[in-house]
């Protein structure tokens, strides 16, 4: 066992040598001051970082941070003042280069100094709320260089000059610009904004104001827009290359305002090259450019839209009220379709299919299509033409496309019930004369109408198709039951259900004996299987094929109307017949008879009859003979058609009257429906609701609605409220 003394180790705080030397601070500072000088003089390599750091550390530790800091400020300021002089001395283009070079030097120096003084940065500076070293360095640079009297304005004018030169087409040193601008940004956003950006925007505004004025005097609209677009892109590119990205929105605003917003109206309305001309000439590229540029300014797009709308309305109005185009309904509708296609394409290609423009297009069409009260009739005639021959040979997809386009026009109609009436008439004629080119197309259109307007609109139309099919079956059954009739004339009967087909006055005529007998046989056959029904022959709607032999032996097959057949068959038993004799024998109504005789006696190429005298009109004293000299290069000759035609004035009036009559019960039904659910409602709301309910069929006239209300009051369906005269009450 050793007798070792136990030694207690005590750890004592490391004690510095307490410095009592008053000159200590001054001496240390001088070392550091010298170091700063060396750094600025590019002599830093000879310095010991560790030593300098320690010196600075000691100063701060011994409570000489204040001295260190103020010394730093003084020294740095002195150096910067020197630097400032050297920059001021630089000539011309070298100015910026010198500035940049010195800036880089300063940055490097600053970093080194900051590293050396790191301890102060972390302790003394936060405690005494002083500016940290790096930031201090920037501020001193800003105050002594950038804001120095001799440099500040020169810097700005140099930068602006360079931008201006670039704008006028010169190539500038973009790298230099970028560095300079970056310097300003590093010095603080307010420096960038006040010392560069604000003046830059002002000068740019002035520049573009002048330039746009120059352009607008000498360029047409399309060229001007091209130039504006180029300038705009230039500015955006400039930002990307050497300016703060936050300036982009500001400078583009300037260009947009000066070049576009200020001249918007003049551009749009420029004679011979403005918006309207672009629309007329389908200038998709120019229009697209205008759209993109105007999109950037307030009210730009709405201006384009408004001008387009008023132009479209004007053009459309002229189209529909032009007397010439009204002469040919098919042409009329085709022109509408073409116009729509044109604008559809423009909106798609140039206006990026914007919904607001689509709406403007639709509302314009709705406006002018209804200016012509014959639009519904014409659209039906257009469809009729297509379904009779226009769609022959057209592929199924193309048929759908055409029908869809027609549906678009249909949607614009306010008086859809008028269309329905005409469509029914025309469809009836097509079906009965077997003249439809494609059954599928017919049905496809019915389906589209049903989707658009509901079942009620098309149920009768579908009934017509059903009747045609049923009639075929009936005919088969008839001939199956009467095989002995196979030798005689072939009868084809279409049995039409009264409610589904357009109403016709039932006037019959005297059929030739053979036909009359045959028809009777059919009637008894039909009524045998369908008791309780009533059949009436519609002799004004039928057709007949007759084989005829003329004087010189020429044989022809004549396709005629039933009336014409009645007249012609008379000549089997007589060579000469007077008008009166024909009238008596056939009992065809006078106007129809005259038309029928005229088509057979006065039309070149169809004159199977000869008339004395040879006048153009049919007189009641005329005499008729078979035209033995009749010739035609065709074996089959078609005389007299039951083609749908544009209505004559009196027919038009009649149809219009029928439509008005049909509307009355519809209005009343709407009123009753509304009043039944609301019980009590004031006058204006009744009008509004009724109009809304009937909108899909026609535009209800408030006066007409009022009349119907009064009629309902009289019939005690409604009453007026005894206190408030404006209210109506439903009477259960």
């Amino acid at each position: 066992m050793s007798n070792q003394k136990k030694r207690n180790f005590q750890i004592e705080a490391f004690k510095h040598r307490v410095v009592v030397d008053p000159k200590y601070a001054e001496k240390t500072w001088k070392i550091l001051e010298h170091a700063i000088h060396e750094i600025y003089n590019h002599n830093a390599s000879g310095l010991s970082f560790e030593e300098l750091y320690r010196n600075a550390y000691n100063m701060v530790l011994h409570k000489f941070g204040e001295k260190l800091y103020s010394g730093l400020v003084t020294t740095m300021t002195a150096h910067l003042k020197e630097i400032s002089k050297s920059i001021e001395a630089a000539q011309g283009d070298l100015f910026l280069e010198e500035l940049n070079r010195k800036w880089n030097d300063h940055n490097k120096a600053l970093q080194m100094i900051r590293d050396i003084l790191m301890y102060m940065d972390r302790t003394y500076i936060p405690n005494s709320r002083k500016t940290p070293v790096y930031e201090l360095g920037l501020n001193l640079w800003r105050d002594n260089i950038i804001h120095s009297g001799k440099i500040q304005s020169r810097l700005l004018s140099t930068l602006l000059e360079l931008v201006h030169r670039e704008r006028t087409g010169e190539v500038i040193d973009r790298g230099l610009m970028r560095n300079t601008i970056k310097m300003l940004m590093d010095l603080g956003s307010s420096v960038y904004q006040d010392d560069f950006e604000k003046p830059f925007l002002e000068v740019s505004a002035e520049f573009y104001k002048v330039e746009s004025q120059k352009f607008i005097e000498c360029c047409d609209c399309g060229d001007y827009l091209k130039k504006a677009e180029i300038r705009l892109n230039e500015e955006i590119e400039r930002i990307a290359h050497y300016l703060d990205v936050k300036s982009e929105a500001k400078i583009t605003n300037v260009v947009e305002k000066e070049m576009i917003a200020n001249h918007m109206t003049r551009l749009v309305h420029m004679e011979n090259s403005g918006l309207v001309n672009m629309l007329l000439d389908d200038k998709y590229e120019d229009l697209g450019r205008m759209y993109n540029l105007f999109k950037r300014v307030p009210n730009g797009l709405s201006m384009i839209r408004d001008v387009m709308t008023s132009h479209l309305r004007e053009t459309g109005k002229q189209l529909v009220t032009d007397a010439e185009s009204s002469k040919d309904p098919v042409e009329f509708v085709q022109r509408l379709l073409d116009e729509r296609d044109k604008y559809d394409k423009i909106i798609c290609q140039a206006f990026s299919n914007a919904k607001t423009f689509q709406n403007a297009l639709n509302s314009s069409f709705e406006y002018f299509i209804n200016l012509n009260s014959r639009s519904p009739e014409f659209i039906s005639l257009f469809v009729d033409d297509k379904l009779r021959k226009g769609l022959k040979g057209v592929s199924e997809e193309d048929v759908e496309i055409i029908l869809d386009k027609v549906m678009m026009l249909f949607r614009y109609l306010q008086e859809k019930d008028v269309f329905e009436k005409y469509y029914k008439q025309h469809l009836a004629k097509r079906l009965l004369s077997g003249k439809t080119v494609s059954d599928d197309a017919e049905r496809s259109l019915i389906v589209k109408l049903k989707t658009e307007c509901g079942y009620q609109f098309t149920s009768k139309l579908e009934g017509m198709f059903t009747d045609m099919k049923t009639s075929q079956d009936t005919m088969q059954g008839f001939y199956a039951n009467h095989p002995e009739l196979a030798e005689g004339p072939t009868l084809v009967v279409q049995v039409l259900t009264t409610g589904s087909w357009p109403t016709q006055p039932t006037i019959t005529c005297n059929l030739p004996t053979e036909m009359a007998a045959l028809c009777e046989k059919f009637r008894s056959h039909y009524l045998g299987t369908h008791t309780g029904r009533r059949l009436s022959w519609q002799t004004n709607m039928g057709t007949a094929d007759i084989k005829a032999t003329f004087g010189k032996g020429q044989k022809h097959e004549l396709n005629v109307s039933t009336y014409q057949m009645c007249v012609l068959m008379l000549f089997n038993n007589a060579d000469r017949l007077s008008y009166k004799e024909i009238e008596q024998a056939t009992e065809i109504p006078a106007s129809d008879l005259k038309r029928c005789l005229q088509s057979m006696a006065c039309v070149k190429g169809k004159n199977v009859l000869r008339k004395e005298p040879m006048s153009k009109d049919i007189g009641t004293d005329d005499a008729f003979f078979v035209n033995d000299k009749f010739t035609s290069k065709f074996y089959k000759v078609k005389i007299g058609t039951v083609v749908a035609q544009k209505e004559s004035e009196p027919e038009k009036l009649e149809t219009r009257q029928r439509v008005e009559e049909d509307r009355k019960p519809q209005i009343e039904a709407a009123i009753v429906r509304i009043m039944k659910s609301r019980r009590v409602l004031d006058h204006n709301n009744v009008i509004a609701e009724v109009t809304k309910q009937l909108q899909s069929r026609f535009l209800a006239n408030p006066t007409e609605i009022k009349k119907r209300i009064e009629s309902l009051i009289e019939r005690e369906f409604l009453e007026r409220d005894s206190d408030d005269r404006k209210l109506y009450r439903y009477l259960a």
Binding site: H683, N684, K726, Y728
Partner: protein, 182 residues
């Protein structure tokens, strides 16, 4: 109670001459209203007795004296509309009749509204005679004539609004008046 044979128009004519009042005088109509007479030109025994009681008279002389008071009673705002409507219904002589012909309406307007609304009645009557949209007037149109006179300033027609619930015949009348005035 005076025994008057009133179950005939002649009886009423006799009554009128006794009262010293013309058969077509509006006061006879007022009397009919007071009596709640159902049939034009006739007073039933019941109506006569109940009515006279209501008037508080029991002799022809007293009845004659009560006529001015009756007039005042009718002209009271609370009674006037009732009387006005009664006047129309009194003209519905046939069963299920709902309208009155234009001629009669013109006379009735003169009789009933002529004193209080002379200018309106004159114009309205003139219009009714020249227009040919309507050959008869129904109860709804009739009551609105009164409202028209009461509510619409005449002859400027400033506050008339055709988009409101006025019957169409009045819309047309106003249009006709405005055309005449321009």
């Amino acid at each position: 109670m005076p025994l008057v044979c009133l179950s005939s128009p002649e009886g009423i004519e006799a009554l009128c001459s006794d009262l010293g009042v013309d058969y077509t005088d509006v006061r006879i109509l007022m009397l009919a209203w007071k009596l709640k007479a159902e049939k034009q030109g006739y007073f039933t025994q019941d109506e006569w007795q109940t009515g006279l009681k209501a008037l508080g008279v029991d002799s022809l002389t007293k009845l004659k004296k009560a006529l001015p008071e009756l007039e005042k009673e009718v002209e009271e705002p609370s009674n006037y509309e009732d009387f006005y409507i009664y006047a129309f219904q009194y003209c519905l002589t046939e069963e299920k009749q709902k309208s009155v012909d234009i001629e009669s309406i013109c006379e009735l307007l003169n009789l009933v509204l002529g004193v209080q609304f002379r200018p309106q009645v004159d114009s309205l009557v003139e219009y009714l005679k020249v227009q040919n949209d309507y050959k008869v007037i129904n109860a709804d149109q009739w009551i609105n004539f009164l409202r028209f006179c009461k509510e619409i300033s005449f002859p400027d027609l400033e506050n008339y609004d055709a988009t409101q619930a006025w019957p169409l015949i009045l819309d047309n009348f106003v249009e006709w008046m405005r055309e005449k005035q321009s």
